[in-house]
C-alpha cells in the first residue's frame, strides 16, 4: 500500500506525459506523429539496454543485434509465411530472447570490457550473415513493403500501438527493477565478489537479466516494423548499438527514465536539426562533448542530483 502511494505520487509526470502523447495525434501534423512513434520505439530499445547496462553493470556493446533480429523475424514471418500475424509479433521477441540466451551463455563468463568485446564480435557475426545472405534476408537491400495488417498499417494506428506497448513494457521493466531480482542485479553491479560470497549465483542473474533485456529489444524491433514497414541490415550494425548506448549515457544510465530522455534527445535532434542542415552529427557530437565535460551523470542524472540536493537543503532549513 505504501509502495502504491509512493508510485502514484512520484509517477505523476510520467502519467501526464502519457496523456499528452495519447491526445497528440489529434492536434499534431502527421510528420510529428511519425517522429514520436520512432521516439517510442527507440526509447523502449534504450530502456531495455539500460536494464543490463545501468542496472546490471554489464557492458552490453551490441544491443542493436537483438532489436534487428526481432525486426527481421517479424518481417520474414509476414513476407514468407502465411501464419497468423500475431504469431510473427510474438515470435520476434522470443527469437531475440533466444539469441540473447545463446550469446549470453557465451558472454556472461567474461566481465566488463571482455564481455562487451565478445558480444561485439558475436553481434558482428550475426550482422555479417544478415548482410550477405541475399536469398534469405535480402542482404544489404533489406526487406521493404512488409504487409502490416489492418489497423496497424495507418500511421495513427502504428503510433498508438507503439506508444501503448512501449508504455506497458516500461511499467513491466519498472516492476522488474523494483523486484527482489532487480535489487540483486544492482547489488551484483556494485559488488559482484561480495554477492557471490553471500551465495548469489552471479552469472545466472546476469543471464536472466540479459534474456529479459533482449526480449524487450525484440519487442522494440517488432514495433519498428509496424512503424516503418521495412527492415535493413543497418539495424544490426554496431553504429546503431553504440548510438543506443550513447542514449543511455546521455540521458543518465543510473536513472530509470534517463534512457527515454536520451533517446528522445537523439531522435528529435537528428530529425529537426536534420531539416536545417545535413551536419546534424556535428551538432550532436558537440552536445555530447559538452555533456561529457559538464554533466558526467547524464542529463536526467544531473537534474535528479540537483533536485535531491535542493530538497535536502529545504528540509534542513525547515528543521532549523
Amino acid at each position: 500500500m505504501f509502495k502504491g502511494v509512493i508510485n502514484l505520487k512520484s509517477a505523476w509526470w510520467q502519467i501526464a506525459l502519457l496523456v499528452i502523447l495519447l491526445i497528440l495525434p489529434f492536434i499534431a501534423p502527421t510528420f510529428y506523429v511519425y517522429i514520436l512513434a520512432l521516439v517510442c520505439v527507440t526509447a523502449l530499445l534504450a530502456m531495455s539496454l539500460n536494464l543490463v547496462l545501468g542496472y546490471g553493470g554489464m557492458f552490453q556493446f551490441h544491443h542493436g543485434v537483438f532489436y534487428g533480429v526481432g525486426a527481421y523475424t517479424v518481417a520474414l514471418m509476414l513476407t514468407r509465411t502465411s501464419l497468423p500475424v500475431w504469431v510473427g509479433f510474438v515470435a520476434g521477441p522470443i527469437v531475440a530472447a533466444a539469441l540473447g540466451l545463446l550469446m549470453g551463455w557465451l558472454c556472461v563468463r567474461l566481465t566488463r570490457i571482455y564481455y562487451g568485446m565478445l558480444q561485439l564480435s558475436l553481434g558482428s557475426l550475426v550482422w555479417a550473415i544478415v548482410f550477405r545472405w541475399y536469398d534469405f534476408t535480402g542482404g544489404d537491400d533489406g526487406i521493404h513493403g512488409i504487409p502490416v495488417p489492418g489497423v496497424l498499417s495507418s500511421l495513427n494506428g502504428s503510433y498508438y500501438f507503439a506508444l501503448i506497448i512501449a508504455a506497458i513494457c516500461l511499467v513491466v521493466m519498472y516492476l522488474i527493477v523494483k523486484s527482489p531480482f532487480g535489487s540483486t542485479l544492482q547489488a551484483i553491479r556494485d559488488n559482484p565478489g561480495r554477492c557471490a560470497a553471500v551465495g548469489v549465483n552471479v552469472r545466472r542473474h546476469q543471464l536472466i537479466a540479459l534474456v529479459i533485456a533482449t526480449f524487450f529489444a525484440g519487442v522494440a524491433g517488432v514495433l519498428f516494423v509496424t512503424v516503418e514497414g521495412s527492415v535493413f541490415p543497418d539495424l544490426l550494425f554496431w553504429t546503431l548499438s553504440l548510438e543506443v548506448l550513447i542514449m543511455c549515457l546521455l540521458g543518465g544510465w543510473f536513472t530509470f527514465m534517463g534512457p527515454v530522455l536520451g533517446a528522445a534527445i537523439v531522435v528529435l535532434l537528428r530529425t529537426f536539426v536534420g531539416i536545417y542542415t545535413e551536419y546534424w552529427a556535428l551538432i550532436l557530437g558537440v552536445i555530447l562533448l559538452l555533456v561529457v565535460m559538464f554533466l558526467p551523470q547524464g542529463v536526467l542524472g544531473y537534474f535528479q542530483e540537483r533536485f535531491k540536493r535542493g530538497s535536502k537543503a529545504a528540509t534542513k532549513e525547515t528543521g532549523a
Binding site: L242, I246, L284, L289
Partner: protein
C-alpha cells in the same frame, strides 16, 4: 572436403601474400589504438575517423603536388597532419577528462567521431576520392606464377618497418619506458617527478600518427569515402581485444589472424568471406577471454 573449390598451391601462396599485406595495414592502425588503450585506458572510437582523415589528407597533398613527389609527400605530411590534430584534441579537451569513468570516455571519443566525420564531409564533400600510385609501385610482378600487386609488397615492407620502429621506440627510448611505466601506474610515475601529462599527450599523438599513416597507405588502393572509418574501427577494436588489450605484439597477431582468415575466406566461400574473421575472434575469446597475449594493466 570435396565441396571446396580446386585451389592450387600457387593460388594459396598468392592469397597468403595478399592477406599478409592486408594484415600489415590493420597492424599499423591497431598498433596506434593499442598504444592509446594501453597507456591512456581509452577505447578510442575516433580512431577510424583519424584513419579516414589520413586518407583524405593524403588525397589533398597528392593532388596539390601531383606525380611521384605528391605520393611521397602525402605519406609524410598526411600522418603528421593527423598527429597535429590529435595534439590539439588531447591538450584542448581530453586531458581534462582522464579521471572519468571508462564508459564516459567512450562517449567522448564517440562524440569526437561524430564531429570529425562531419567535419570531413564539410571539408572534402561526399564524392569518392582516389589517389594514383607512382609508376614503380603500379602493376604487378609474378609470384608463384600468379600476378601480385607491387604496391602490396610495399605495404609489407612498410608494415615491418613500422613494427621495428615501434619496438625500438617502446623498448629503447626514454619516452617509451616512461609510457610503459605510466601504463602500469600513472600516479607513481607522477610522484617521482615525471611530467606524465606530456608523456600521455605524446602517446596519443603517436597513436593518431599511426592511424593517419594507415589511412595514407591505404589511400591508393581504395575509394576514399566517408564510411571508410566505420568498418575499420570495429575490426581494430576486435583485433586489439583478441591480441590482449594494449599489447603491441597482440595487435600484430590479431591483425594476422584477421587479415588471413578474411583472405582465405574469399577463396573458399566468397559470399560469406566477411564472416570468417568474426568467427575467429569468437573462438579466440571463448578459449582465451583476455586475448592471446598478456594484456597490459587493465
Amino acid at each position: 572436403m570435396d565441396f571446396l573449390p580446386d585451389v592450387g598451391l600457387a593460388t594459396l601462396g598468392a592469397q597468403l601474400m595478399v592477406g599478409l599485406s592486408r594484415a600489415m595495414i590493420l597492424f599499423i592502425i591497431t598498433a596506434g589504438m593499442s598504444l592509446i588503450l594501453g597507456v591512456l585506458k581509452i577505447p578510442n572510437a575516433a580512431h577510424g575517423s583519424l584513419y579516414m582523415i589520413g586518407a583524405f589528407l593524403a588525397y589533398t597533398v597528392a593532388v596539390f603536388f601531383s606525380g611521384v613527389a605528391g605520393f611521397w609527400l602525402a605519406l609524410i605530411i598526411a600522418p603528421l597532419g593527423v598527429a597535429l590534430l590529435c595534439l590539439v584534441i588531447e591538450r584542448g579537451l581530453l586531458r581534462h577528462l582522464y579521471e572519468r569513468e571508462h564508459l564516459m570516455l567512450l562517449v567522448f571519443t564517440f562524440a569526437l567521431m561524430l564531429a570529425l566525420d562531419d567535419l570531413v564531409k564539410l571539408t572534402w564533400g561526399v564524392e569518392y576520392k582516389s589517389v594514383s600510385v607512382p609508376a614503380i609501385f603500379s602493376g604487378s610482378f609474378s609470384l608463384f606464377g600468379l600476378p601480385f600487386p607491387r604496391y602490396n609488397l610495399f605495404l609489407l615492407v612498410v608494415g615491418v618497418l613500422v613494427g621495428v620502429g615501434l619496438w625500438l621506440l617502446i623498448n629503447r627510448t626514454k619516452i617509451g619506458k616512461i609510457s610503459r611505466a605510466a601504463a602500469v601506474d600513472r600516479e607513481m610515475v607522477d610522484a617521482i617527478g615525471i611530467n606524465v601529462s606530456w608523456v600521455i599527450a605524446v602517446v596519443f599523438v603517436i597513436g593518431g600518427w599511426l592511424a593517419g599513416l594507415g589511412g595514407a597507405l591505404i589511400a591508393p588502393t581504395v575509394n576514399i569515402s566517408l564510411g571508410m572509418g566505420h568498418s575499420i574501427l570495429i575490426e581494430a577494436f576486435l583485433i586489439v581485444t583478441i591480441g590482449g588489450l594494449g599489447n603491441m605484439w597482440g595487435a600484430l597477431l590479431g591483425s594476422l589472424i584477421f587479415g588471413l582468415t578474411h583472405c582465405f575466406g574469399v577463396l573458399f566461400l566468397p559470399q560469406f568471406a566477411i564472416v570468417f574473421p568474426y568467427i575467429a575472434v569468437v573462438i579466440v575469446l571463448i578459449i582465451r577471454p583476455t586475448g592471446l597475449l598478456r594484456p597490459t594493466a587493465w
